[in-house]
Symmetry: none
Subunit: 219 residues, 4 copies
DNA sequence: AATGAATGAGGGTTCATTCAT
DNA sequence: CATGAATGAACCCTCATTCAT
């Protein structure tokens, strides 16, 4: 873990509280994180002010700085936690699943389920993709890269299994586009839920790459 | 056209200059617009300051306000012009084209060509989707709606022509996701050009919806 | 009291400090208010800049905004405090005084004494009469109306006691004119003090309305 | 006339056009002056912007500067013209009038008539009393001083005629206060007209100074 | 563990004014 | 005679951040 992720104060704290699964510090931190996620979602990272966060979370402006050393670190923690969780969940779900197609369907389902259950967090992840700088940026990018790599490897499996030929990069990034774009349009009351959405997107995407790859689409 | 789009000064100007294709005012305005697009692209709308624009465009801070009455109106003009252009180009290209599939391929090609030729403008359009408020927002939304409607009608044609059944809404929005997401990853030096990209995305998308819709994907 | 007069922060502060006569916040606030009064007096509300106030009060520009949420609210607090004080002082002094004439003399004396002791504040009150808007304006107007009403009732008493007939409105407003105008000419070193001024203005005004009202002035 | 009042351009212009009673320049100037008076009245000198004047008068911003060399000179011209007119009118009316009392009544009537016929101008005169600086200020002050002197001499006449004793300065400034204050309260639809107002104020003031001066008011 | 008080830097916008045309 | 274009200075206000307590 890079230097960016651990402040002296926080680490000291964690050391002293290592015995408990969740210290009061971590609990309070989590609450504020949740509020901040909502605010960043609604106003954007640049558009949200620390005063907004203070108001929403009910903690004083100065109080926030005890938990987060800077606004940027706050965004970093949100993005890192969100991304880490989604990757971990994915890995668990993929264990022991056999066919490449099935594994890709799980990938998509996992992404969309998490997306719709944590819309705010995922919007902050997608929309504030390049808001972080230097150390913070690189750490998030590392996780993102890992996630991307997993998807690439799933598609490569599929190509090997079925003897297909297409640009993995374009396919993967198209898939991410389909999935990540939903924060711009999905309304829980109106639109399909994660299962249904995952099924339909999986169908489109899988049929797409599998047929297109055999040479152009034919009747 | 709503009141938001025409200031007294601009309209007066345009009236007097109706015969000429571009007055000096409009030319200067266009130049600043171009610079502003780049800056908004790099820093985001909220993150970019009018002082940044002043520096980049080489015009004094106060001078900018002679052309744009506010920062918000500046973003509005960029978005409106970009969107209007892409819609007009699309309409021209669609004229006289017969098959639904071909028309969808043109839609995608048109979108990606414009996207890659005007990456900055298109990122500003995609990424600053809800930065505008009230009158400005509604006018841009109207154009967006029209563009969306065109795509919906193309897909409905396809469904009719081929007797397919799938959710047009999800298909259209997935397509937009695939296409709009490219601002997050496309590097001109590394990635395929618009033609190639359009071909591949069209293949994936069309094969996807056409095969998936016949009932699940089958071998 | 309208919403305009109490910010969340100020009210919270006052609640906690209800037992003490003046918190440090209130003290600091009072100091700044005093400086601001001087500056508004010298340069006028519009003509004075927050930078002027910052310079005069020795506090940073941003620091001022911790105490006053806006320049307008600053003026509002000055006007409200000044007006409230003068009305309260008047009420105390009027208690138990019998004859209408005596009561009017007290009214005039009270006004002029306060005026000359707080010249700057009273000029700001008189001269910036319509600088406030909406909620701020209406709250000050309410106090002003009360003050005006008191004067009207005193004159009505006089008319009843002595069986006089004249336009109370014109008389009252003439009296206010005489009194308030002094901010344009009174020089402490040169001109009479409040007692003497009050005596002379009272004589002129009272003799004026009492004789004039009996039918035109006669020898 | 001081240097402040004549710019090279204006004087040259007037020289060339000396034969006509009103040049086109002067006519146009007068129109703008009238509009500016209204704007200064509504928004105050500091609060009114040259853009406001441009909008109201229908002339371009730059065009205004052809007629007025600066915003301050604009206020100066308004104040000077207003004050000069009122003094000239007064002198004409006073000619041949005998008794001091009558002359004072004429003074008051003249002031109030002009005030109510030119409310905006008179408010600008009264309210923006110390907005001008240096040369501009001193020239207006000179006229003001003359006007004040006339009033003083009228009151001194009265004192001599009737053997009264009171402070002329306080009496005169009280009278000005009564009269000038009306811009803060007079509504043409509701309140008495100039004649009636002049009668009542004259009664109050004259009865006041004449009776008060004989020693305190007595029954 | 948490806050009130304070700040330097910078935000978007408007100001009175000029000058080539 | 009048304007469109342009500007430096200043406007009010908010920003992320700090530090004594």
């Amino acid at each position: 873990m890079s230097a960016a992720s651990t402040s002296p104060r926080a680490s000291e704290h964690r050391r002293r509280a290592a015995r408990l699964p969740a210290t009061r510090f971590d609990k309070r931190l989590g609450e504020i994180l949740a509020h901040a996620t909502d605010v960043f979602c609604k106003k954007g990272y640049e558009g949200a002010s620390m005063r907004d966060l203070s108001r929403t979370s009910g903690m004083s402006l100065a109080g926030l700085y005890y938990y987060f050393q800077s606004k940027e670190r706050l965004l970093f923690l949100i993005q890192k936690h969100t991304f880490t969780t989604i990757v971990e969940q994915l890995k668990t779900r993929l264990e022991g699943v056999g066919s490449a197609e099935q594994r890709i369907r799980i990938f998509i389902l996992n992404h969309l389920e998490y997306f719709l259950s944590n819309q705010a967090a995922m919007k902050v992840l997608s929309h504030e993709d390049d808001a972080l700088k230097n150390g913070f940026a690189s750490e998030v990018k590392a996780i993102k890269r890992e996630y991307y790599r997993i998807c690439v490897s799933l598609l490569d499996e599929l190509k090997r299994e079925r003897g297909l030929q297409f640009s993995t990069r374009i396919a993967v990034l198209s898939l991410f586009g389909m999935m990540n774009w939903i924060y711009t349009w999905h309304h829980p009351r109106v639109d399909a839920d994660a299962d249904e959405l995952a099924r339909q997107m999986s169908d489109i995407f899988l049929c797409g790459v599998m047929n297109a790859a055999r040479g152009r689409h034919r009747e």
